[in-house]
Every structure is written in C-alpha cells, then in structure tokens.
Symmetry: C2
Subunit: 393 residues, 2 copies
Amino acid sequence: MVNERMYGLGAEPSAIRELFAYGMARKAEIGADSVFDFSIGNPSVPAPDAVKQAVLELMEEEPSALHGYSPAAGDPRVRAAVADHIRRRFDVPASPDQVYLTAGAAAGLAISICAVTEPGDEVVVIAPFFPEYQVWIETAGCTRVEVPAHVPDFQLDIDALDAAIGPATAAVIINSPNNPVGAVYTRENLEALAALLARKEAELGRKIYVISDEPYREITYGAEVPYVPCVWPRTIVCYSYSKSFSLPGERIGYIYVSDLMDDAAEVSTAVAGAGRALGFICAPVLFQRVIAACIDEPSDVASYAENRRLLTEGLGALGYEFVEPDGAFYLWVRALEDDAQAFSDRAKAHELLLVPSDSFGVPGWVRVSYCVSRATIERSMPAFKALMEEYRG
Amino acid sequence: MVNERMYGLGAEPSAIRELFAYGMARKAEIGADSVFDFSIGNPSVPAPDAVKQAVLELMEEEPSALHGYSPAAGDPRVRAAVADHIRRRFDVPASPDQVYLTAGAAAGLAISICAVTEPGDEVVVIAPFFPEYQVWIETAGCTRVEVPAHVPDFQLDIDALDAAIGPATAAVIINSPNNPVGAVYTRENLEALAALLARKEAELGRKIYVISDEPYREITYGAEVPYVPCVWPRTIVCYSYSKSFSLPGERIGYIYVSDLMDDAAEVSTAVAGAGRALGFICAPVLFQRVIAACIDEPSDVASYAENRRLLTEGLGALGYEFVEPDGAFYLWVRALEDDAQAFSDRAKAHELLLVPSDSFGVPGWVRVSYCVSRATIERSMPAFKALMEEYRG
C-alpha cells in the first residue's frame, strides 16, 4: 500500500551509490589501499581552513539566535553577501531578493524544476546527464527530453536542441563544467543556445527557462566558464558549495533567479512556493553563515589538476580513449566493450570502481571520478593496464 | 508561465511568518522591549552546552570525511545511535535500518506523506492543525480530511474519526504534544484510536498509517507521552531536534518507521524513495554527528514551565479563557470576538502578536507562543489587560 513510485525509487538505488556502497564493503574486506574507488564525487580536497575558523567563531555567538530559524529564503545577511558576490564577480545586477538559499544544488534543482513547469511540460536535458535530473523532472509531473551532446567535443548540439524544443518545452537544464564528461560550454556555444531560445520563445509564444546547474563552476583547468545569465536572461542558477568548499554533506547552496529576466519576481515567488511544497524550511543556518564568512575564499583546484594530469597521461599511455576534461573532476572514458555495465563489472575484478554510462543516459562509457588521493591514481595504473590487456587478449 | 500552485504558495506566506516579519519590523521601529511577540515557535531556551562541545570536538576531525556525503538515510553510526536511544527509552525493537535522518520534522512529514499515499488518497488531520500539513498533503496529490479535536479537552475525537475514515484514507497525522493547543493524547485515547484503526483496516481492507509528528515530545509539564508505535504498530514517527535541543535552523531530525508494523521494510524503502523524489540528499552531516554525541542530553523545559505558569496565571486573572497546556510551548486562547483575525489585529494595536486560529483550521482562537523570555511575558500583562478592557468596554 506504499506509494508505488516512491517504493521504486527507494528500491532502485543509483548505480553510483550502489558502486560506492560496494566499495565501502570491499575496502573493509581487503583494505582501503587495495580498492581503486573512482565511483563518487565526494571531494578529496579538504574544506578551506576559513570554514573551520568561521564555524569556531560562530559557535561563540548566542545559541538561540545562531541556531534559530532563518526566513525560508535564508538569512538576509547571507542573501546580501551572495548577491554582492555575484554582482562583483559577474557584473550583473544581482539583488538579494533574487537569492534563495538551498540545501545544496539537489534541492535547488528540484525546487527550480517545480517552480517553472506545469505537469505535462517537457524539460530538456543534455545526454550524458546527472541521473537524478530524471527523478526531479518526474516529481514535477514533467517528461524528460534527452538531447545528446555534440560529439566529440560534448558541447551543446544546437541543431539537435532546435529539433527537440517544442510547444511543451518549459526548461532546459545545462551543467557546465559538466558531470560526467568534464566539458565546459564555450561562450560561443552558449550564445548559439541563447539565439535558439530567443527564436523558439518567439515562435512558440512561451517562456523557456535555462536551469544552470553549477556545482563545478570553480573546478576548471584554464577554461572560461561564462556566466549563463549574461548570455540568456531567463536563467536560474543552481549553485552549491559542495564541491567548491568541499562541504557536500552540509547541504548548502543557493538558487539565483537572474534579475535580468522580465519575470524575475514571479519566478522567485514560485521558487519560494516550491521550497515550501517540497518540505524545505530553510537551508541549514550555521552553514549559511559560514558561506557568508568565506564567500571570497578561493577553491583549491590544484590537487584535482594534478590528478587530472596523472590520470590522463597514465590512461593515454595505456591506450584508453577519453574526453579531455576542461572542468569538474570526472574523466569520461570509452568502455572497452559496447556494454558499459559488463565493462564496469570486469573492472571490478581488478578492484577498479568505474560508473557505467548507462545511468547517465548513454551507452558505452564509464565515469572515473578523480576527486581521490594522488596515491589512489598512482596505485591504480597496474589495474588499468591489466584490464586493457585482458581485452586486448 | 511559472507553476500556478507554486506561485500561489510563494505569494501567500503563512499567517505565522507574516506576523513574525511584522514583529521584526515593528521591533526595529519602536524597540524590541516594546513588542510582545508571541508569534513563532523559535525556542528561547539556548541549545545545550553539549551541542557546542560536540561541534567543537567534531571540527577537529579531518574535514573531507567530516563534511562529506553521508548515505541518503544518514551516517550509519548516527542511525545506530538513534535506534539504540529509541530501544532503551521506549522498549521497542528499533533497528537502525528503520531510522532515516531528515532535515527536521518538515522534511520528515513531507517525505512520509508521499511515501504512504497515492494521489487521490485522503489524509486525516486533527483540527486545529499545523498549517503546513495542508501543503505537503497537496504535494502528494492527496486530499485533507479535517476532524475536529474533542472539545474541551482537545483529545482525539474517536467518534468523529470513525465517521471520517473511509476507503480512501491512507493516513492519519497526529501531533502530541500538540501545536497549537498544547494537548497531550492520553494512553487511553491513543488505544481507542488503535482499536478504531484495527477495525477500519479490517472493514476497508487497506492499511492505515499513523504519522506521528513529535517535535514537542520532550516539552511536557508532567503528562505521560505514550510512544505511539507501542499502541499502533503501523506508525511512522517524525521527530525533530528543533525544539528539544533548540536547533530549528539546523534542520535535523529523523523518521522512524516502526519495526512493529508488518510492512516496515517496504515503508522504509518508500521513505528513501520519497526523500530522493523531493530533492533531499542527506540530512546535514555535522549536526547528524552532533545529535549522536548528545543523544541522551535532557531538554531544558524549566523555562517553558515557568513561562507557562506566568502566562496562565496572568491571563487567568485577567479573565481570558484558554486550554491548560500539558505540553509544547503554546497557549490556545479564546479570542474576545468571533473573528480571530480581527481580534489578532486589535491585539496588534497593543503590540501583542498573537496568531489567529483560522490558519490552524478553526475559528475564534489565537495561539500564544510562550517560547519567549520571561520578561516578555511579564511586560505584556498590561497590554493583555488593556486589550481585555477594550472588549469589555
């Protein structure tokens, strides 16, 4: 008698989490150093020292006020700090009213999708895509429309988007720097998207929102990451401090409804309503304040850059094919057989935990998360070599 | 083009939050000491010292592990600590698998309702009721069926429940100690509910869940608060540390799906699925660990008991009619005219912020939150006196 959809979602854990759980058990069995766990995007870089200092300082404040409810959209001081940061950094007129603090990007995405769609609408995603998009699109009563990324550069395929966007399209979710591929959409590519959306809005007589999922914005290796609201005004940015400050478990991020869109206030109101509807009261308040205190703290990407170099050089030398990542901390590697799940299973026998691409909506690849220790990458190379030799026979 | 329901929810803030916001502005205008803000359930008792100590100790741990993702249902150590606490305290066979840590009771309720209902089902609530129940029931696509509490003791009205529970009833939400009335359901009353539900399940051939909303469990003034799963096995407990540890902004609580129900594993699976569907990833991890460290810490209810005494003696002497509260920190006071909103507005002119009962689903009362400073209650008495005199003419 329980809800059928909810039971299904609970019974079918994501491939990523399943592999992660397998890895935990396997490490307990044979030792952590013998398992090469590339399954999950749990940052290996520690949170900045400034986070710890901010927590310790805040804990000296009077507890009732410190730990009390904030308004649903967040502590006004924190919203002001985030808006100020956006203004200074991206030169857009961000007002605190358009900032809604969330329990991470997941909450931001679930809320944003519910806010700008009606049941029956379509939401476009770019394949490969983060698997939970599907769950939140369904929660909103909408249908997912998949548009494959342009191969081999994994930029937005404007022609394919042109074909996919129709009268039922309410929103397009983009994610740059991208999980799982590591692509960063160029300014030119985003401008082509904006031109397409402007034409489609005029043709179809409806608003089309871009929901820009940006947890990896700070994790880049030289590429420019254009601020999407500057290119397409009808953009809702879903930001998270999970990766930039290595705080994924604390659940802190924000929705920024671009002030540049003509219906900004209306969308912000719907965002507040959707937060209520989904059971959110406010983002965790201690970490709201931590974020405000650390807002200009740089992310430490040096370790990820070094991991990326080691992994791409190592796998390249072994003959693996992969997409050179411009951002995030994932390497998208061609499976050595058509069936990515079968390939992932054979990799497991070498203690290599690689996420098969099927759950990201495309066949034939695996995702290698390199937010791991340098030693894990170094020690994994003989296993990658043995796996390659097994296929080459 | 935004979602109509979400826009409506965002545009219509709750009466409580509206009054709270008015109070904030009014205090800035005429001084905090001149406004008697009884609007919101933000605990005035500070969090226990043990919470601060736990935070400081945890912050010495390695940050990546400390702030990293936990499994969706929570850190296994914390789930084990909660289950152990439930076992020791209530003598029920609570297993960690049945504990799902949540971002407070709001998340717990939204998740639980979605987990055990299908769209079109009915969910019974007892009037007066916490207004957000309606929002989460609608999110699940269900209909709210209101059953008035038994007057004058505000216990469950078993005959009225008998009449209200029908073939579409999936769940009954109860809240004891009760917000807004302060009633605590007696064991006898809960046993009568259980007998009714057993009969209804047999007659109707469907399972009927009790969702027990328990943020005020620790805040009582001598009354026994029976553990609902011991009385009705098909109970889902939604607990929060917001009030017991004065941490409402940190968003930490849990769902406990009673091991005593015959479909416990199935319900837990649906709970996990509903958490995913609504955009929750895990409860904030630092405060997960804080809870585990402080789990046997007693709540400080002495201040609330003193406030309750002061307020009931003071209002009683002035001739106000109210329900003697057995728990929580709210006093349910009869408005001095039929229109509770009009009464609340007139109280405002005396700087008294009292929440009209209409938003709790009943006319003619106001809720007075006494989780305030003792001084606020003492200083408010002349205003309550003036208000009474205004009505008596």
